[in-house]
Amino acid sequence: MYRKQIRRRRATLVLLVVACLVLISSHFSESESGPLHTAQNGVGSALAPLQEAASRALKPARDLVNWVDETFDARGENEQLRAEVQELRADLTKAEEELSEGTERGEIAAIAETGTLAGYEFVDARVTGRSASTWDQVMTIDKGRSAGVAVNDPVITGDGLVGRVSSVSGGSARVALLTDQTTEVTAKVLGGGPVGIVGAEVGDPDDLVLELIRGDDEVKPGAELITAGIEDPDLTSLFPVGIPIGEAEQSTTGEQELRQQIHITPYADMSNIQFVSVLTGGGS
């Protein structure tokens, strides 16, 4: 009797492990429209209303915990912020001087003239779910195809770019954050600086990496980065030019790397996003 139980248990265990391995390999090898992806999207769509309801119901509790956490953080950051205020005062004076000389003004005016976000519609959405792992920086939102959201639409907050829509269903969508390994965006340093590709550093939600592809100018700490878009008229850029991304922290050049890598702190707080805007319409 006991041996039979053991055999049954082993068989079930082996069956489930094999099922997992088959799922992983099938999921990798099939296309986005394959049966596994379709079934996965179906389950995701069915869960979406429940996630939304749970997210709304639990918001007060979440806000309370976040408030406590932020209060502790704020105490620790007080000294740091005082020092930063002094630095920023100095920067402000410098920036005002530069503005009067028309250097920055030209760049900002150029962004405005390109009508960066003019053709886009803003669809406001609530974050209803999120991955617990830094390996998958993915979240779900409560707006989908019915609201005009499409795959690869840029997603922003008031602070700047946070990611792109990775998949969409009728009433919900999944967003791959900038800190997800699958998301990359062409960026340029504000003020005529070099252009590069910003990608994630897995495990660190406060760090992005800019790899330069054009221009060898040194990127100084504090330099601001915005989306570069694509200047070729035959190509459509996923991200319109001019969306703020983050601020350069430090640059490194490893022994095996030919070009410098610049570490970027994103403007948006990637670990605590409650609401987002999806830029729909593709600028058309």
Binding site: L13, A19, I24, S26, H27, V65, G203
Partner: protein
């Protein structure tokens, strides 16, 4: 554990609610540079109370639900959670829960094992970006938060599944402590 239809439905509901809470609540509250992960805590509790098979089956379906909701590679979360569920069940078979500290500590350890297994699988499947050493912080922090979460979660799940438990070691010890020289006080 005696698996009647009612108990099966209860276990399914526990797994479903834990996944929903994880997605909508715990994952959206950053703590100590990571987030608390309720799902492995629940899986370990089911493994400790029901044995390896219930632990592994619950882990498989919880992982499928998580991967389906987030659009991540199907099967990865299931495998990572199954490691925690199986080990918790094996612990139950080999050792008694001699102290109320054992479930939280074991849960913390197995939550960290589950996070490490997930990280290992991601590395094996290939990563298209540089990897920070902070992924180690996530494993440690999720383990520590798992200890804290297990303090209310384990007794709650034991209470929900009490009708099905053949032998609850903590309840047996409590009964024994109330008995003096064979006379129940």
């Amino acid at each position: 554990m005696i698996f009647t239809l009612r108990i099966r439905l209860t276990v399914a509901a526990i797994v479903f609610v834990s996944v929903l809470l994880q997605l909508s609540f715990f994952s959206q509250m950053p703590l100590l540079g990571s987030v608390a992960n309720l799902v492995p805590v629940v899986i370990v509790a089911l493994g400790l109370l029901g044995g390896p098979l219930p632990g592994v089956i619950a882990a498989f379906f919880a992982g499928l639900l998580l991967d389906s909701a987030l659009g991540t590679t199907l099967g990865v979360s299931s495998l990572a959670l199954m490691s925690a569920g199986y080990l918790a069940g094996r612990w139950r078979e080999g050792y008694d829960i001699v102290s109320s500290l054992v479930p939280p500590l074991l849960t913390g350890l197995l939550t960290a094992v589950s996070a490490a297994a997930y990280a290992a699988m991601q590395l094996m499947l290939g990563v298209d970006a540089p990897v920070s050493l902070l992924v180690l912080r996530e494993i440690v922090v999720q383990g520590l938060l798992g200890v804290l979460l297990a303090i209310p979660v384990f007794p709650l799940i034991r209470r929900l599944l009490r009708p099905a438990l053949v032998d609850d070691p903590l309840a047996r010890r409590a009964r024994a402590s109330r008995t003096v020289l064979g006379v129940t006080s």
